[in-house]
């Protein structure tokens, strides 16, 4: 996917001015966050489970090569095939080849963030295939030719009317005057259209929520069951997963599942949780004849060896996004690439380069809500600060801020000088602001005063008062 993360500030402005988006976002705090809280309250051992889940992933990341090879061997044992790809380009080329080999025309696809990362739909369309997203939200945004705005609720930015509009534009073969006012009507229509796609599909592409090393299984969770049809109907199944999705055992997978849905949607478990191992065996009623797993690096090994390793624990639950006040203000598209919210602000610079996403680490108040709810205990604010450290070191901070900070920091190191410089300023501002108690405009403070008044200083510094009081100094 092409990034627009460079235009973050403009994207954000646009999002703030988008009335429909703002209506959708305003509903947000009452949704997932409340459901998560209730789910967590129902499960006394939730905090302990978070520790367990974190430990599982830390262990895997410390022995990733071992578990990946084990996974590969198990997949092979069950008649499947594992392919290793180091970047998006390689994965796309391989994917097209596998689809050609399968003689595909229609390709059904379950929701996959890795699929978004490497731009699966675009590359398949370019190669002449007809990829169809089968997750309802993904299907809607595919019709609208836009990226997801949330990793677990890709069309959360849209209103009912916008969805109906997209359906009318796409489903030309249906009567124009059909009613499309209720969600159920749209759901039925999508279901009918997708059913046809499922039945004519020759390749099913899915992501994976987890890869289980001890069995070579992939774990997929959905609420619509579309991933199950995607895996079982077409003769060829292709799984695309990034390498950090590994867990050692089925039991570990169960531990992660116990925190995943609760953190994401507040469900105890997603409606469908499916473990798939290899292609159809003799005697199986359904399942693919060919089973491929594409293991994609795409920047993960670089992260593994660096300061952002902890980010690889992420299980893409979206809790950090759901609780992020910045996301709540601007939605997901403003971030400019596949991911969004706090996890996106850490991942995007890591995956496409800090240069490409300069604003993302900075567009956060570091309020810490994300870390508080992250089931994998990823210290997102600390990782954002690390990115800021790197940016500062690389001279990527705008000069005004750089010099402003420097100047302030110099002063802060020389208390006597600081006192002299600040005392005079405070006295002047205090005099000017005394009558109203606030300023509506202030030179060099437009960032503040465009939206808020600036409370005026009281006119004397605390230090001046303390000296006048002859207060104790040591």
């Amino acid at each position: 996917m092409q990034s627009t993360a460079r235009a973050f500030t403009a994207n954000a402005r646009q999002a703030l001015d988008d009335a429909k988006l703002q209506v959708a976002l305003a509903r947000f705090p009452e949704g997932f966050p409340v459901k998560r809280r209730l789910a967590v309250e129902r499960l006394p051992e939730f905090e302990a489970l978070r520790d367990d889940a974190k430990e599982i992933k830390d262990h895997v990341l410390a022995h990733l090569d071992y578990y990946l090879e084990r996974f590969e061997a198990k997949v092979a044992e069950r008649g499947g095939q594992v392919h290793w790809c180091s970047d998006a380009e390689e994965a796309r080329t391989l994917l097209v080849k596998l689809c050609r080999d399968a003689g595909a025309t229609t390709i059904t696809k379950a929701k996959s963030m890795i699929g978004e990362e490497i731009g699966v739909n675009d590359c398949l369309e370019e190669a002449g295939f007809k990829p169809v997203e089968t997750d309802l939200g993904e299907y809607i945004i595919q019709l609208r030719h836009e990226p997801p705005s949330h990793i677990i609720a890709p069309a959360v930015h849209l209103s009912k009317d916008q969805v109906a509009e997209a359906f009318r534009a796409a489903h030309k073969d249906l009567p124009d005057d059909r009613p499309l006012n209720e969600p159920q009507e749209m759901l039925d229509e999508a279901r009918a259209v997708l059913r046809r796609a499922f039945l004519s599909s020759s390749v099913g592409i899915t992501g994976a929520n987890m890869l289980v090393a001890e069995t070579g299984s992939i774990v997929l969770v959905t609420n619509e069951g579309n991933a199950d049809l995607t895996q079982t109907i077409p003769p060829v199944q292709i799984v695309i997963a990034s390498i950090e999705k590994i867990v050692p055992t089925l039991e570990d997978a169960a531990t992660v599942l116990r925190v995943l849905a609760r953190s994401a949607t507040g469900q105890d478990l997603s409606v469908y949780t499916t473990f798939t191992t290899g292609p159809r065996r003799s005697g199986d009623l359904d399942g693919p004849q060919h089973f491929h797993v594409i293991l994609l690096d795409n920047g993960r090994t670089r992260m593994l060896g660096g300061e952002f390793r902890e980010m690889l624990r992420c299980i893409r639950c979206g809790a950090c996004i759901n609780h992020c006040p910045v996301y709540g203000a601007i939605g997901g598209h403003a971030y400019g690439w596949v991911y969004s919210g706090p996890m996106g602000a850490v991942l995007i610079p890591n995956l496409i380069g800090v240069d490409e996403a300069k604003d993302l680490p900075n567009a956060s108040t570091l309020c810490g809500r994300c870390e508080e709810v992250c089931p994998m205990r990823i210290p997102l604010p600390r990782l954002l600060r690390k990115l800021r450290d790197q940016q500062f070191e690389a001279g990527q901070v705008p000069p005004l801020f750089r010099y402003g900070l420097r100047w302030w920091a110099r002063l802060a190191r020389w208390p006597a000088l600081y006192r002299l410089a600040t005392g005079a300023g405070v006295a002047t501002l205090g005099r000017l602001g005394r009558r109203k108690g606030r300023f509506r405009k202030m030179p060099f403070a437009g960032g503040w005063t465009n939206a808020r008044d600036l409370p005026a200083p009281q006119g004397r510094t605390f230090q001046q008062w303390w000296s006048a009081e002859k207060g104790v100094r040591q």
């Binding site: 954000a12 709540g328 809500r369 920091a409 108690g437």
Partner: protein, 255 residues
């Protein structure tokens, strides 16, 4: 007990009355208050902007300035958080300084936690006629676990009724330099906070961090909504009759 006050730069420059209130509260609780001259800012803007060199230099100054005190009290959750949580992180590669930073972290307390948890001060008597929304600042709440302490101290204030905000755990959009770097987003966030406050029916806002309070008060006053915005220390020290609220005007004739 001898207590060193770390005033914080915002309180020092913008609203010294918060520092005066802190002094009064500490003295009332039986402490001897010392204000070391060699203090300015905790360096939080540098810490949060990736300016590690300056952050380290400032932290060293602060660690030196407060090395000889067994208790350091800060009337701000975020500045106390900087000292307690982020100073030790700054010196990961310098074991000697790291030890000194951890030592200062252990001796440093946010004002309301110091009063409630260390000195075991119970409800404080005073008067403040208001229905007040309490704004838990993010760093205070999540870095230092400050929530019950200010509420317990305020329980003795006559005339005060506390309202819990629906989005009590949500950031007000201040975020230090964030609010000037991303003013549009910050405005949206502070508007959400202001809407929440208005929906609660409160006529006052209390909090323990001047940055957030200035942000909230500034937005309220820009929206033309009168509101009594106060640092919790001023209420606890019973100073509200003498000092206008944050962003409010001074009574005519007073100095």
């Amino acid at each position: 007990m001898k207590v060193a006050l770390f005033v914080t730069c915002l309180v020092d420059l913008i609203r010294p009355s918060v520092g005066m209130a802190a002094v009064k509260l500490l003295r009332d609780a039986g402490c001897e208050v010392v204000v070391p001259a060699a203090q300015t800012c905790c360096g939080q803007p540098a810490v949060n902007s990736g300016d590690r060199a300056d952050a380290v230099a400032i932290a060293k100054r602060v660690i030196d300035a407060f090395s000889s005190f067994s208790h350091v009290v800060v009337p701000s959750g975020s500045c106390a958080g900087t000292i307690k949580v982020h100073y030790p992180e700054l010196f990961q590669d310098d074991p000697v300084m790291a030890r000194r930073a951890r030592d200062l972290a252990d001796r440093t307390f946010e004002l309301t936690t110091f009063l409630a948890d260390v000195l075991k001060v119970g409800a404080i008597a005073g008067r403040f006629d208001a229905e007040a929304a309490y704004h838990d600042s993010c760093s205070g709440l999540r870095e230092l676990g400050i929530r019950e302490q200010p509420r317990a101290l305020l329980a003795g204030i006559a005339g005060l009724e506390l309202q819990e905000l629906k989005g009590a755990a949500t950031c007000c959009g201040f975020g230090g330099l964030f609010c000037v770097k991303y003013p549009d987003i910050s405005e949206k966030m502070v508007d959400a906070k202001v809407d929440d406050i208005l929906a609660s029916g409160a006529d006052a806002v209390l909090g323990g961090d001047l940055g957030c309070l200035m942000n909230i008060a500034g937005r309220l006053s820009r929206r033309g909504v009168p509101m009594n915005v106060r640092h919790v220390a001023e209420v606890l020290a019973d100073m509200t009759a003498d000092v206008p609220p944050v962003g409010g005007r001074e009574a005519r004739g007073s100095a």
